[in-house]
Amino acid sequence: MKTATRLSLVLILAAIGSARAADTIKIGLLAPLTGSWASEGQEMKRNVELLAAEQNAKGGLLGKQVEVVVEDDGGDPRTASLAAQRLTTRGVVAVIGTYGSAVTEATQNIFDEAKIIQVANGSTAVRLTEKGLKYFFRTCPRDDEQGRVGAAVLAKTHAKKVAILHDNSAYAKGLADEIKEGLKGKPVEVVFFDALTPKEQDYSAILTKLKAAGPDVVFFTGYYPEAGLLLKQKRQMGWKVPFIGGDAINNPDLVKIAGVEAAEGFEFLSPPVPKDLDTAEAKAYVAAYQKKYGEAPSSIYGVLAGDGFRVVAKAIEGAKATGADQLREYLVNGLKNFPGYTGKISFNAKGDRVGELYRVYKVDKTGGFALQP
């Protein structure tokens, strides 16, 4: 008797719970809220939550309110797999995220098997869209484009000897390989190709070895915490060779960690940073963000997450459904030149964003990022 009462109570509660759930459309956000890239993750969360609130103010999606379900991937593939598993049990129709390529890679198959659309915002490693996963998309560009732009930038510096340093992560090694490919056939010698260990703080051994190889310029393809320390310690050593970075360097914390004097003159590749987004809607969005959070968005990857949310919302409205196959159909075939804040967005059949996005930036005397022509 007691068992029967308990069982029926549980069933009733479950029914009530799922009935409540049916009133909202859940969109997941997988972001590095803690760990090395916490500043990126926090901005991703802010962007998506702001956009969800704006969407709800307009009446939600298909008549239902949008609910953002946030999970922390910790910037680590293992934590991310667990977080992804949790998201698949929460009834989300799509997931925005995440930032690091290795982290996204750990979650791709989980979402693909659960038939949940995934839109990554910061993972630029080429192979993520070469696996034939139907439900994976990304609003960020990819590293073969970055490799071409990187090689072109290096050629412009008239350097004869180039050192390439990465950190063995999926993204950094991929980009380093692309740059090396891009330099083939050019009168440039790659005198150094090796990796540092992330999360360490002492790079004096590596910098000493780099210096001994005698390069004219060093291309570092890793992330911003390590880049900041490299620049700082390079200056302590009194070594003046210019460094160039890939797009994971693009974060204001770089200047904070390295100090303005060490960071000045450093160049890096990146999609346009938020302050350089030039459409009227983008500027209005930046102003709305500033109003809600008290500061302008500082990282483009947060805004790319926001654009990820917007394309998903558009797909849900356009397909008038939330099933993964319908959404995929709409994203590949129905969405053409969607006016994203980061530029026009269309997806090809692999899930990649179409178009050229990379620009060259330089850190100026005040520590700001200046767009180079």
């Binding site: 809220l33 803690t34 760990g35 090395s36 916490a38 500043s39 926090q42 063995n168 090796d194 990796a195 540092l196 260990t197 999360k199 360490e200 703080q201 002492d202 004096s204 051994a205 590596i206 000493t208 070895k209 001994a212 915490p225 900041g228 320390l229 700082k232 310690q233 200056r235 302590q236 050593m237 009194g238 914390d253 904070k256 960690i257 100090g259």
Partner: protein, 300 residues
């Protein structure tokens, strides 16, 4: 040749920080036979406290850089020492009579607690130390070495020398060594073992906190996870030198730092950690109790 000496100085600087942290591990093991997993997080606590005190009190402006840093170091070491004593009282003393495994689990729990507490208080982002140390380099035997690197080695070695003299030449130091050899016999000799243990849990963390402050000043960047990497390396250094052995921790730390730097320079940077741990395995196969042996038992 020049690269060799440059890498040697690099290795000594990093190694002296490992050595300072390793001392905390080794002292606690010597007396309690317990690996204090929370030690790495006490090191991180020292780095964060140093940053907070530095930015809020601005001692370097009021007293001048040298005196200001000295006072800052004393404050940081004191605060971390108190935390160490509280940690001992809360997490380890109640489990003194319990099986060893309980204390180990408690240590892990304390580590997780401290790390997350720091994350919640200070945030998950990287924090930066204000730039107050001189950035110039000196010419030493034909090499250009940053002044701070030399200062780190000298300060660390100085602190280790003071600790060594304290443990060898003072009555309290002798009590610590006695408790490390045999707690029961020490008690019979009239030594208050509880007091000794508390003292060990203040000195070890104080040195760890000082190492944290040094790391913050030298590298400029602190993060709530930094205790993990440094703690693991320092623990390795303590084992390398002989766990429980104080000079062993110093030698182990310096040696590990140098092996890492030279391995990075001459073999491969990407394999640097693998090389260091490979050397550790080799040394332990030849000398299982570490380079200087476990807890050299002396005739007191």
């Amino acid at each position: 040749m020049e690269q060799f000496f440059q890498q040697l100085t690099n290795g000594l600087a990093v190694g002296s920080i490992y050595a300072l942290i390793a001392l905390g591990y080794t002292m606690v093991y010597g007396v309690l036979k317990l690996i204090n997993f929370a030690h790495g997080d006490l090191f991180t606590l020292g780095a964060y406290l140093g940053m907070t005190l530095l930015t809020s009190l601005l001692l370097q402006d009021r007293l001048g850089t040298a005196a200001g840093l000295l006072l800052l170091a004393v404050m940081v070491m004191g605060l971390v020492a108190v935390t160490g004593a509280v940690l001992e009282r809360a997490a380890y003393r109640p489990l003194r009579e319990s099986p060893r495994l309980s204390a180990v689990v408690s240590a892990l729990g304390a580590s997780i607690f401290l790390q997350n507490a720091l994350m919640l208080v200070y945030g998950a982002r990287y924090q930066v130390y204000p730039d107050i140390l001189p950035q110039n380099a000196v010419s030493l035997l034909g090499l250009t070495v940053p002044v701070v690197r030399i200062a780190v080695v000298l300060v660390s070695v100085g602190m280790m020398a003071v600790l060594y003299l304290f443990v060898q030449k003072t009555k309290v130091g002798t009590a610590i060594r006695a408790a490390a050899i045999d707690q029961g016999a020490a008690r019979l000799m009239g030594i208050d073992v509880n007091r000794v243990i508390r003292l060990v849990f203040m000195i070890g963390p104080a040195l760890g906190g000082a190492a944290g402050l040094l790391v913050g000043l030298y590298y400029g960047q602190v993060n709530f996870t930094m205790g993990w990497t440094y703690g693991m390396k320092a623990f390795t250094a303590a084992i390398l030198g002989g766990i429980g052995n104080i000079p062993g921790a110093m030698v182990g730390g310096l040696l590990l730092g140098v092996i890492e730097a030279l391995g990075a320079a001459y073999l491969s940077i990407a394999w640097k950690d693998a090389i260091a741990f490979f050397v550790l395995i080799l040394i332990l196969i030849v000398r299982p109790s570490g380079l200087l042996g476990e807890r050299v038992a002396e005739k007191v």
